[in-house]
Amino acid sequence: MNKIYPDAKAALAGLLRDGITIMAGGFGLSGIPEKLIAEVKASGVKGLTVISNNAGVDGAGLGLLLETRQISKMISSYVGENKLFADLYLKGELELEFNPQGTLAERIRAGGAGIPAFFTKTGVGTLVAEGKEAREFDGQTYVMERGLVADLAIIHAWKADTEGNLVFRKTARNFNPVMATAGKVTVVEVEHLVPAGQLNPDCIHTPGIFVQRIVHYDSYEKRIEQRTVRKRA
Protein backbone atom coordinates (compact mmCIF):
# COMPACT_ATOMS: atom_id res chain seq x y z
CA MET A 1 0.00 0.00 0.00
CA ASN A 2 1.68 3.16 -1.19
CA LYS A 3 0.59 6.39 0.53
CA ILE A 4 3.15 8.62 -1.17
CA TYR A 5 1.99 10.88 -4.02
CA PRO A 6 4.31 12.91 -6.23
CA ASP A 7 2.57 16.28 -5.83
CA ALA A 8 -0.50 17.98 -4.36
CA LYS A 9 -2.50 17.52 -7.56
CA ALA A 10 -1.96 13.77 -7.51
CA ALA A 11 -2.56 13.61 -3.75
CA LEU A 12 -6.00 15.19 -4.13
CA ALA A 13 -6.97 13.44 -7.39
CA GLY A 14 -10.45 11.92 -7.19
CA LEU A 15 -11.18 13.48 -3.78
CA LEU A 16 -12.45 16.92 -4.75
CA ARG A 17 -16.08 17.44 -5.71
CA ASP A 18 -18.42 20.44 -5.55
CA GLY A 19 -20.25 20.75 -2.24
CA ILE A 20 -17.98 18.59 -0.06
CA THR A 21 -16.91 19.40 3.49
CA ILE A 22 -13.18 19.95 4.01
CA MET A 23 -11.31 20.30 7.31
CA ALA A 24 -8.16 22.40 6.96
CA GLY A 25 -5.57 22.43 9.76
CA GLY A 26 -3.69 25.43 11.10
CA PHE A 27 -4.00 28.31 13.55
CA GLY A 28 -3.74 31.66 11.82
CA LEU A 29 -1.22 30.89 9.07
CA SER A 30 0.83 28.56 11.28
CA GLY A 31 0.63 24.91 10.30
CA ILE A 32 -1.76 25.44 7.41
CA PRO A 33 -1.69 22.98 4.48
CA GLU A 34 -0.59 25.65 2.02
CA LYS A 35 0.25 23.39 -0.94
CA LEU A 36 -3.01 21.48 -0.62
CA ILE A 37 -5.07 24.69 -0.32
CA ALA A 38 -3.38 25.96 -3.50
CA GLU A 39 -4.37 22.73 -5.24
CA VAL A 40 -8.00 22.98 -4.06
CA LYS A 41 -7.95 26.45 -5.61
CA ALA A 42 -6.48 25.13 -8.87
CA SER A 43 -9.11 22.38 -9.06
CA GLY A 44 -11.92 24.95 -9.16
CA VAL A 45 -14.32 22.93 -6.99
CA LYS A 46 -17.08 25.09 -5.57
CA GLY A 47 -19.74 25.19 -2.86
CA LEU A 48 -17.31 23.96 -0.23
CA THR A 49 -18.01 23.86 3.48
CA VAL A 50 -14.67 24.47 5.18
CA ILE A 51 -14.03 23.71 8.83
CA SER A 52 -10.98 25.60 10.02
CA ASN A 53 -10.21 27.68 13.11
CA ASN A 54 -9.53 30.76 10.96
CA ALA A 55 -10.15 31.79 7.37
CA GLY A 56 -6.63 32.78 6.37
CA VAL A 57 -5.77 36.36 5.44
CA ASP A 58 -6.26 38.30 2.23
CA GLY A 59 -4.05 36.53 -0.31
CA ALA A 60 -2.87 33.60 1.82
CA GLY A 61 -4.22 30.39 3.31
CA LEU A 62 -7.96 29.91 2.96
CA GLY A 63 -8.12 33.55 1.82
CA LEU A 64 -7.17 32.12 -1.62
CA LEU A 65 -10.39 30.09 -1.76
CA LEU A 66 -12.44 33.10 -0.70
CA GLU A 67 -11.03 35.14 -3.60
CA THR A 68 -12.31 32.52 -6.04
CA ARG A 69 -15.68 32.18 -4.19
CA GLN A 70 -15.12 28.43 -3.80
CA ILE A 71 -16.22 28.40 -0.15
CA SER A 72 -19.92 28.74 0.59
CA LYS A 73 -19.78 28.07 4.33
CA MET A 74 -17.11 28.37 7.03
CA ILE A 75 -17.16 26.79 10.48
CA SER A 76 -14.57 28.73 12.49
CA SER A 77 -13.87 30.36 15.85
CA TYR A 78 -12.24 33.61 14.66
CA VAL A 79 -12.12 35.24 11.23
CA GLY A 80 -10.92 38.73 12.15
CA GLU A 81 -7.86 38.96 9.91
CA ASN A 82 -9.64 38.81 6.58
CA LYS A 83 -11.26 41.83 4.94
CA LEU A 84 -12.55 39.90 1.94
CA PHE A 85 -14.24 37.51 4.34
CA ALA A 86 -16.14 40.41 5.93
CA ASP A 87 -17.19 41.75 2.52
CA LEU A 88 -18.49 38.37 1.31
CA TYR A 89 -20.27 37.71 4.58
CA LEU A 90 -21.99 41.10 4.64
CA LYS A 91 -23.10 40.62 1.01
CA GLY A 92 -24.63 37.27 1.96
CA GLU A 93 -22.29 35.29 -0.30
CA LEU A 94 -20.78 33.33 2.56
CA GLU A 95 -22.43 31.43 5.37
CA LEU A 96 -20.66 31.44 8.72
CA GLU A 97 -20.99 29.27 11.81
CA PHE A 98 -18.98 30.43 14.82
CA ASN A 99 -17.91 27.81 17.33
CA PRO A 100 -15.93 28.55 20.50
CA GLN A 101 -12.41 27.40 19.73
CA GLY A 102 -12.39 24.63 22.33
CA THR A 103 -15.82 23.44 21.29
CA LEU A 104 -14.64 23.33 17.67
CA ALA A 105 -11.56 21.30 18.62
CA GLU A 106 -13.61 18.91 20.76
CA ARG A 107 -16.30 18.49 18.08
CA ILE A 108 -13.56 17.40 15.68
CA ARG A 109 -11.91 15.15 18.27
CA ALA A 110 -15.29 13.58 19.07
CA GLY A 111 -16.14 13.11 15.39
CA GLY A 112 -12.87 11.32 14.80
CA ALA A 113 -13.37 9.15 17.87
CA GLY A 114 -16.89 8.02 16.93
CA ILE A 115 -18.64 10.18 19.52
CA PRO A 116 -21.77 11.77 17.98
CA ALA A 117 -22.31 14.37 20.72
CA PHE A 118 -21.00 15.59 24.06
CA PHE A 119 -21.91 18.09 26.77
CA THR A 120 -19.83 21.16 27.61
CA LYS A 121 -20.26 24.17 29.86
CA THR A 122 -18.67 26.42 27.24
CA GLY A 123 -21.26 28.84 25.86
CA VAL A 124 -24.00 28.11 28.41
CA GLY A 125 -26.15 31.25 28.74
CA THR A 126 -24.86 32.70 25.44
CA LEU A 127 -26.03 32.79 21.80
CA VAL A 128 -23.95 29.66 21.18
CA ALA A 129 -26.31 27.57 23.33
CA GLU A 130 -29.52 28.73 21.63
CA GLY A 131 -31.51 25.91 20.08
CA LYS A 132 -29.26 23.24 21.58
CA GLU A 133 -30.21 20.66 24.19
CA ALA A 134 -29.15 21.63 27.71
CA ARG A 135 -28.76 19.23 30.62
CA GLU A 136 -27.82 19.39 34.23
CA PHE A 137 -25.03 17.21 35.61
CA ASP A 138 -23.99 17.44 39.28
CA GLY A 139 -25.83 20.72 39.68
CA GLN A 140 -24.23 22.47 36.70
CA THR A 141 -25.78 23.21 33.29
CA TYR A 142 -24.13 21.92 30.12
CA VAL A 143 -25.00 22.29 26.44
CA MET A 144 -24.91 19.49 23.89
CA GLU A 145 -22.56 19.85 20.95
CA ARG A 146 -22.30 17.46 17.99
CA GLY A 147 -19.22 15.64 16.77
CA LEU A 148 -17.86 16.80 13.40
CA VAL A 149 -16.53 14.76 10.51
CA ALA A 150 -15.51 15.80 6.99
CA ASP A 151 -15.29 14.26 3.54
CA LEU A 152 -11.67 15.33 3.42
CA ALA A 153 -9.09 16.59 5.91
CA ILE A 154 -6.06 18.48 4.57
CA ILE A 155 -3.28 18.97 7.09
CA HIS A 156 0.35 20.00 7.43
CA ALA A 157 2.97 18.06 9.40
CA TRP A 158 6.68 18.48 9.93
CA LYS A 159 7.74 14.89 9.37
CA ALA A 160 6.14 11.73 8.08
CA ASP A 161 7.40 8.25 7.49
CA THR A 162 6.18 6.18 4.56
CA GLU A 163 3.56 4.53 6.79
CA GLY A 164 1.99 7.97 7.45
CA ASN A 165 3.12 8.27 11.06
CA LEU A 166 3.34 12.00 11.71
CA VAL A 167 5.33 14.40 13.86
CA PHE A 168 4.32 18.04 14.14
CA ARG A 169 6.55 20.97 15.06
CA LYS A 170 5.92 23.45 17.90
CA THR A 171 2.64 25.40 17.70
CA ALA A 172 2.17 24.40 14.06
CA ARG A 173 0.55 21.27 15.55
CA ASN A 174 -2.72 23.00 16.65
CA PHE A 175 -5.79 21.52 14.87
CA ASN A 176 -3.82 19.22 12.54
CA PRO A 177 -3.78 16.02 14.65
CA VAL A 178 -7.49 16.09 15.52
CA MET A 179 -8.48 16.85 11.94
CA ALA A 180 -6.41 13.89 10.76
CA THR A 181 -8.75 11.66 12.78
CA ALA A 182 -12.00 13.21 11.49
CA GLY A 183 -11.53 13.16 7.72
CA LYS A 184 -13.01 10.24 5.75
CA VAL A 185 -9.82 10.71 3.77
CA THR A 186 -6.85 12.59 5.26
CA VAL A 187 -4.15 14.05 3.05
CA VAL A 188 -1.01 15.42 4.66
CA GLU A 189 1.70 17.65 3.21
CA VAL A 190 5.05 17.29 4.98
CA GLU A 191 8.41 19.02 5.17
CA HIS A 192 10.39 15.81 5.67
CA LEU A 193 9.59 12.30 4.49
CA VAL A 194 11.60 9.34 5.84
CA PRO A 195 11.40 5.56 5.43
CA ALA A 196 9.34 3.66 8.00
CA GLY A 197 11.55 2.88 10.99
CA GLN A 198 13.29 6.24 11.03
CA LEU A 199 10.88 7.91 13.46
CA ASN A 200 10.95 6.97 17.14
CA PRO A 201 7.65 5.08 17.66
CA ASP A 202 7.39 6.61 21.15
CA CYS A 203 7.45 10.12 19.70
CA ILE A 204 4.80 9.89 17.00
CA HIS A 205 1.96 12.41 17.38
CA THR A 206 -0.45 10.94 14.80
CA PRO A 207 -0.38 7.22 14.00
CA GLY A 208 -0.41 6.32 10.31
CA ILE A 209 -3.89 4.76 10.48
CA PHE A 210 -5.33 8.28 10.26
CA VAL A 211 -3.37 9.23 7.13
CA GLN A 212 -4.28 7.97 3.65
CA ARG A 213 -2.14 10.13 1.37
CA ILE A 214 1.19 11.91 1.82
CA VAL A 215 2.87 14.52 -0.30
CA HIS A 216 6.34 15.90 0.38
CA TYR A 217 7.69 19.31 -0.59
CA ASP A 218 11.11 20.73 0.29
CA SER A 219 10.07 24.30 0.82
CA TYR A 220 7.01 26.18 2.02
CA GLU A 221 6.12 29.84 2.20
CA LYS A 222 5.13 29.72 5.92
CA ARG A 223 4.16 33.37 6.08
CA ILE A 224 4.31 35.06 9.51
CA GLU A 225 1.16 37.02 10.36
CA GLN A 226 2.44 39.13 13.28
CA ARG A 227 6.21 39.37 13.27
CA THR A 228 7.01 40.51 16.80
CA VAL A 229 10.59 40.82 18.12
CA ARG A 230 12.49 42.24 21.06
CA LYS A 231 15.67 44.30 21.01
CA ARG A 232 18.94 42.63 21.83
CA ALA A 233 20.26 43.85 25.19
Binding site: S30, S77, Q101, G102, T122, G123, L127, T171
Partner: protein, 215 residues
Protein backbone atom coordinates in the same frame (compact mmCIF):
# COMPACT_ATOMS: atom_id res chain seq x y z
CA UNK B 1 -4.65 59.70 39.37
CA UNK B 2 -6.15 56.82 37.48
CA UNK B 3 -3.83 53.90 36.79
CA UNK B 4 -2.00 53.76 33.46
CA UNK B 5 -2.20 50.61 31.34
CA UNK B 6 1.16 49.55 32.80
CA UNK B 7 -0.05 50.14 36.36
CA UNK B 8 -3.23 48.17 35.65
CA UNK B 9 -1.10 45.29 34.37
CA UNK B 10 1.13 45.59 37.44
CA UNK B 11 -1.90 45.39 39.74
CA UNK B 12 -3.21 42.37 37.82
CA UNK B 13 0.17 40.66 38.19
CA UNK B 14 -0.40 40.59 41.95
CA UNK B 15 -3.16 38.01 41.28
CA UNK B 16 -0.48 35.56 40.06
CA UNK B 17 0.49 33.01 42.68
CA UNK B 18 3.56 30.78 42.70
CA UNK B 19 2.96 27.64 40.65
CA UNK B 20 -0.01 29.00 38.71
CA UNK B 21 -0.79 28.06 35.13
CA UNK B 22 -2.08 31.27 33.56
CA UNK B 23 -3.71 32.32 30.31
CA UNK B 24 -3.32 35.99 29.32
CA UNK B 25 -5.64 37.56 26.74
CA UNK B 26 -4.75 40.00 24.00
CA UNK B 27 -4.24 43.73 24.76
CA UNK B 28 -3.54 45.04 28.27
CA UNK B 29 -3.54 41.47 29.71
CA UNK B 30 -0.47 40.67 27.58
CA UNK B 31 1.43 43.37 29.50
CA UNK B 32 0.93 41.43 32.76
CA UNK B 33 3.82 39.13 31.82
CA UNK B 34 6.19 42.10 32.24
CA UNK B 35 5.31 42.40 35.95
CA UNK B 36 5.44 38.86 37.30
CA UNK B 37 6.80 39.19 40.88
CA UNK B 38 10.35 37.88 41.33
CA UNK B 39 9.34 35.29 43.95
CA UNK B 40 6.58 33.86 41.78
CA UNK B 41 7.01 31.25 39.05
CA UNK B 42 4.11 30.79 36.66
CA UNK B 43 3.69 28.98 33.36
CA UNK B 44 1.83 30.89 30.67
CA UNK B 45 -0.53 28.95 28.47
CA UNK B 46 -1.15 29.88 24.86
CA UNK B 47 -4.40 28.24 23.78
CA UNK B 48 -3.14 27.43 20.30
CA UNK B 49 -1.14 24.65 21.96
CA UNK B 50 1.69 25.62 24.29
CA UNK B 51 2.54 25.80 27.98
CA UNK B 52 5.62 27.70 29.09
CA UNK B 53 5.42 30.63 26.70
CA UNK B 54 8.63 32.62 26.40
CA UNK B 55 9.28 36.24 25.35
CA UNK B 56 9.29 37.62 21.81
CA UNK B 57 12.28 36.40 19.75
CA UNK B 58 15.30 38.48 18.85
CA UNK B 59 15.19 39.84 15.34
CA UNK B 60 16.21 37.15 12.88
CA UNK B 61 15.14 34.34 15.23
CA UNK B 62 11.41 34.42 14.42
CA UNK B 63 9.93 30.97 13.75
CA UNK B 64 6.67 30.70 11.77
CA UNK B 65 5.95 27.45 13.65
CA UNK B 66 6.07 29.21 17.02
CA UNK B 67 3.33 31.76 17.64
CA UNK B 68 0.96 32.74 20.44
CA UNK B 69 -2.83 33.01 20.31
CA UNK B 70 -2.48 36.55 18.97
CA UNK B 71 -0.43 35.08 16.07
CA UNK B 72 2.69 36.90 17.33
CA UNK B 73 6.08 35.21 17.09
CA UNK B 74 7.31 33.99 20.50
CA UNK B 75 9.97 31.70 21.96
CA UNK B 76 10.11 28.57 24.09
CA UNK B 77 11.47 28.02 27.61
CA UNK B 78 13.07 25.01 29.34
CA UNK B 79 9.59 24.23 30.78
CA UNK B 80 7.78 24.39 27.43
CA UNK B 81 5.43 21.71 26.16
CA UNK B 82 3.35 21.60 22.97
CA UNK B 83 0.00 19.90 22.39
CA UNK B 84 -2.91 19.92 19.98
CA UNK B 85 -5.95 22.20 20.17
CA UNK B 86 -8.24 19.54 21.67
CA UNK B 87 -5.83 18.86 24.54
CA UNK B 88 -5.25 22.59 24.97
CA UNK B 89 -8.93 23.23 25.53
CA UNK B 90 -9.19 20.04 27.55
CA UNK B 91 -6.88 21.69 30.07
CA UNK B 92 -8.95 24.89 29.86
CA UNK B 93 -12.40 23.28 30.11
CA UNK B 94 -11.23 20.72 32.63
CA UNK B 95 -10.33 23.41 35.15
CA UNK B 96 -6.56 22.83 35.07
CA UNK B 97 -5.68 26.47 34.33
CA UNK B 98 -5.59 28.52 37.54
CA UNK B 99 -6.14 32.01 36.20
CA UNK B 100 -7.33 33.76 33.06
CA UNK B 101 -6.80 37.52 32.66
CA UNK B 102 -8.72 39.01 29.77
CA UNK B 103 -10.27 42.20 28.42
CA UNK B 104 -13.97 43.01 28.23
CA UNK B 105 -16.50 45.35 26.68
CA UNK B 106 -18.99 44.97 29.56
CA UNK B 107 -19.15 43.24 32.94
CA UNK B 108 -22.36 42.96 34.98
CA UNK B 109 -22.69 42.94 38.74
CA UNK B 110 -23.66 39.23 38.62
CA UNK B 111 -20.39 38.30 36.89
CA UNK B 112 -21.74 38.16 33.33
CA UNK B 113 -19.11 39.05 30.73
CA UNK B 114 -19.46 40.42 27.18
CA UNK B 115 -16.35 40.79 25.04
CA UNK B 116 -16.90 39.23 21.62
CA UNK B 117 -19.74 40.75 19.67
CA UNK B 118 -21.46 44.05 18.90
CA UNK B 119 -24.71 43.37 17.00
CA UNK B 120 -24.83 45.13 13.64
CA UNK B 121 -21.05 45.20 13.29
CA UNK B 122 -18.89 42.58 11.60
CA UNK B 123 -18.30 39.87 14.14
CA UNK B 124 -14.78 38.48 14.23
CA UNK B 125 -15.61 35.50 16.41
CA UNK B 126 -15.16 34.46 20.01
CA UNK B 127 -11.96 32.50 19.49
CA UNK B 128 -11.16 30.77 22.77
CA UNK B 129 -12.78 33.36 25.07
CA UNK B 130 -15.98 31.41 25.80
CA UNK B 131 -14.00 28.28 26.67
CA UNK B 132 -11.61 30.19 28.91
CA UNK B 133 -14.28 31.97 30.96
CA UNK B 134 -16.32 28.78 31.31
CA UNK B 135 -13.42 26.55 32.29
CA UNK B 136 -10.61 28.44 34.02
CA UNK B 137 -10.73 28.40 37.84
CA UNK B 138 -10.47 32.17 38.33
CA UNK B 139 -11.31 34.87 35.78
CA UNK B 140 -9.92 38.40 36.14
CA UNK B 141 -11.06 41.14 33.76
CA UNK B 142 -8.62 43.94 32.98
CA UNK B 143 -10.27 46.87 31.20
CA UNK B 144 -10.75 50.65 31.07
CA UNK B 145 -13.49 51.72 33.46
CA UNK B 146 -15.53 53.40 30.72
CA UNK B 147 -15.73 53.37 26.92
CA UNK B 148 -16.26 56.86 25.43
CA UNK B 149 -17.50 57.92 28.89
CA UNK B 150 -20.15 55.17 28.93
CA UNK B 151 -19.97 52.83 31.93
CA UNK B 152 -18.76 49.28 31.26
CA UNK B 153 -19.66 47.96 34.72
CA UNK B 154 -23.41 47.47 34.43
CA UNK B 155 -26.46 46.02 36.18
CA UNK B 156 -26.87 43.70 33.19
CA UNK B 157 -24.80 43.38 30.03
CA UNK B 158 -26.56 44.75 26.95
CA UNK B 159 -24.19 43.02 24.50
CA UNK B 160 -24.34 39.28 23.76
CA UNK B 161 -22.59 37.36 26.53
CA UNK B 162 -19.28 35.54 26.36
CA UNK B 163 -20.16 33.79 29.62
CA UNK B 164 -22.86 34.00 32.29
CA UNK B 165 -21.70 34.47 35.88
CA UNK B 166 -18.04 33.86 35.12
CA UNK B 167 -16.06 36.88 36.39
CA UNK B 168 -14.28 36.86 39.79
CA UNK B 169 -12.51 40.21 39.69
CA UNK B 170 -12.44 43.38 37.59
CA UNK B 171 -9.40 45.66 37.50
CA UNK B 172 -9.94 49.03 35.81
CA UNK B 173 -7.92 52.23 35.63
CA UNK B 174 -9.94 53.49 38.64
CA UNK B 175 -9.94 50.53 40.98
CA UNK B 176 -10.49 46.85 41.74
CA UNK B 177 -13.85 45.10 42.16
CA UNK B 178 -14.36 41.62 43.56
CA UNK B 179 -17.28 39.74 42.06
CA UNK B 180 -19.11 36.88 43.76
CA UNK B 181 -20.36 34.91 40.80
CA UNK B 182 -22.66 32.91 43.06
CA UNK B 183 -25.06 35.74 43.77
CA UNK B 184 -23.08 37.83 46.24
CA UNK B 185 -22.68 40.79 43.90
CA UNK B 186 -19.84 43.21 43.32
CA UNK B 187 -17.61 44.86 45.92
CA UNK B 188 -15.19 47.74 45.39
CA UNK B 189 -12.04 46.58 47.17
CA UNK B 190 -9.35 49.04 46.03
CA UNK B 191 -9.14 52.44 44.43
CA UNK B 192 -6.32 53.88 42.35
CA UNK B 193 -4.43 56.68 44.17
CA UNK B 194 -6.31 59.97 44.36
CA UNK B 195 -9.40 58.53 42.68
CA UNK B 196 -12.54 59.46 44.65
CA UNK B 197 -15.54 57.34 45.46
CA UNK B 198 -17.56 60.06 43.79
CA UNK B 199 -15.71 59.61 40.51
CA UNK B 200 -16.19 55.86 40.61
CA UNK B 201 -19.88 56.27 41.43
CA UNK B 202 -20.32 58.63 38.51
CA UNK B 203 -18.71 56.19 36.09
CA UNK B 204 -20.26 52.94 37.30
CA UNK B 205 -23.80 51.74 36.61
CA UNK B 206 -23.46 48.46 38.50
CA UNK B 207 -24.40 48.28 42.17
CA UNK B 208 -21.48 47.44 44.43
CA UNK B 209 -20.70 47.25 48.11
CA UNK B 210 -17.70 48.99 49.63
CA UNK B 211 -14.89 46.83 50.88
CA UNK B 212 -13.03 47.31 54.18
CA UNK B 213 -11.58 50.80 54.59
CA UNK B 214 -13.51 52.27 51.65
CA UNK B 215 -16.85 53.06 53.33
Amino acid sequence: MAWTREEMAQRAARELKDGFYVNLGIGIPTLVSNYIPADVTVQLQSENGMLGMGPFPYEGEEDPDLINAGKQTITELPTTSYFDSAQSFGMVRGGHIDLSILGAMQVAENGDLANWMIPGRMVKGMGGAMDLVAGVKRVVVLMEHTAKDEPKLLHRCTLPLTGAGVVDMVITDLGVFAVDRHGGGMTLVEMAPDVSLQEIRGKTEADYALGPGLG
